[in-house]
């Protein structure tokens, strides 16, 4: 049973988790958050608000799926484990953050001016600066992993080619 489960394509499982989390997120939004576009807004703006909510829901679903399936692969990497985990968390954050982030902006807009300023600054530091830092971490991560990958490529090729040749020579000798 376990083997059959593990054979299910990871893409299918990721897609399923994305869809389920997106549907749950979309539904509970109307219960816990105020609308992204105020109720007095025109119908076109309301439609755009719903489109944005759909995108946020899919993003959070994709983020949860990525966080669920990405970690075992990250652990196998031979770059610095801290950098690998930071990059994994960074990509997860890039996808998961938009749902709370946008709705907290919507809440801030409904407050008085002083509270709006302080809440907006808090959102800027937690979400915007957080994403700037993770953007830098990702650039460094990809630079390191790709430099390391290309540095080992000639060694890998030279290790593989003689091995094949040796096998052929042995076959010839046996014959």
């Amino acid at each position: 049973m376990r083997n059959r489960y593990s054979r299910v394509d990871v893409r299918f499982r990721s897609g399923l988790i994305t869809l389920v989390v997106a549907c749950i997120t979309f539904s509970i939004t109307f219960v816990i958050w105020p609308p992204l576009v105020p109720r007095w807004g025109p119908a076109t703006a309301q439609a755009l608000g719903y489109g944005l909510l759909a995108a946020e829901s899919v993003a959070i679903g994709g983020g949860v799926a990525f966080l669920a399936f990405g970690y075992p692969t990250v652990k196998r990497l031979s770059v610095s484990p801290r950098l690998a985990v930071a990059s994994y968390l960074g990509i997860g954050y890039f996808l998961v953050n938009w749902w709370p982030h946008d709705h907290l902006h919507a809440i801030a807009l409904s407050l008085d001016f002083s509270s709006l300023i302080w809440m907006s600054i808090a959102i800027e530091y937690v979400f915007h600066v957080g994403m700037m830092v993770f953007g830098g971490v990702l650039a460094l991560f990809f630079a390191q992993i790709l430099i390391a990958t290309s540095a080992t490529e000639p060694a890998t090729e030279s290790a593989t080619v003689p091995a094949r040749d040796t096998a052929t020579v042995r076959e010839v000798m046996v014959r």
Binding site: L48, V58, G70, S78, W98, H128, M132, I147
Partner: protein, 147 residues
């Protein structure tokens, strides 16, 4: 210039753009607050701190866009995915300077401006996050065999 190492060239570009962008954004983008209201002094300090982060991210992003493509190309992925991942990382770093400043200029109660910023920046950043997750998965799936 050619004697400088890659890291130095990258750092010089990032720092120079970061330093220039801070006064530029203070001059170009004035907050659009309701009449008679202004920022309290402590909030102004935090806002300037934010400008420093945005400037540094902009500089790092431009340096990455200048030097990053040959590096991303080494991943051996398709041309389209390589280009999208390169643009996504660049966008995640560069966008904050125009993005946050447009929020300030747009003001609080301009609904259509806010929606334009949401779709121009927030939506495209969600898509960029998805591209990066896919690229990350593809690259690290191959990495253990290669490293």
């Amino acid at each position: 210039m050619s004697k400088l190492s890659f890291r130095w060239r990258f750092a010089i570009i990032a720092t120079a753009i970061g330093v220039v962008s801070i006064p530029t954004s203070l001059l170009l983008f004035r907050p659009n607050f309701p009449a008679g209201l202004s920022l309290p002094a402590p909030a102004l300090v935090l806002l300037v701190g934010l400008k420093a982060f945005e400037g540094l991210a902009l500089g790092t992003g431009i340096a990455f866009l200048v030097y990053g493509y040959p590096l991303i190309k080494r991943a051996g992925q398709s041309h389209l995915l390589t280009l999208l991942a390169y643009l996504a990382i660049g966008w995640y770093l560069v966008n904050w300077w125009p993005h946050d400043n447009l929020h300030l200029v747009n003001g609080v109660y301009n609904l259509w401006g806010l929606l334009a910023i949401e779709y121009g920046f927030h939506f495209t950043l969600m898509v960029a996050g998805g591209v990066l997750a896919f690229f990350f998965y593809r690259v690290i799936r191959l990495a253990p065999a290669r490293l």
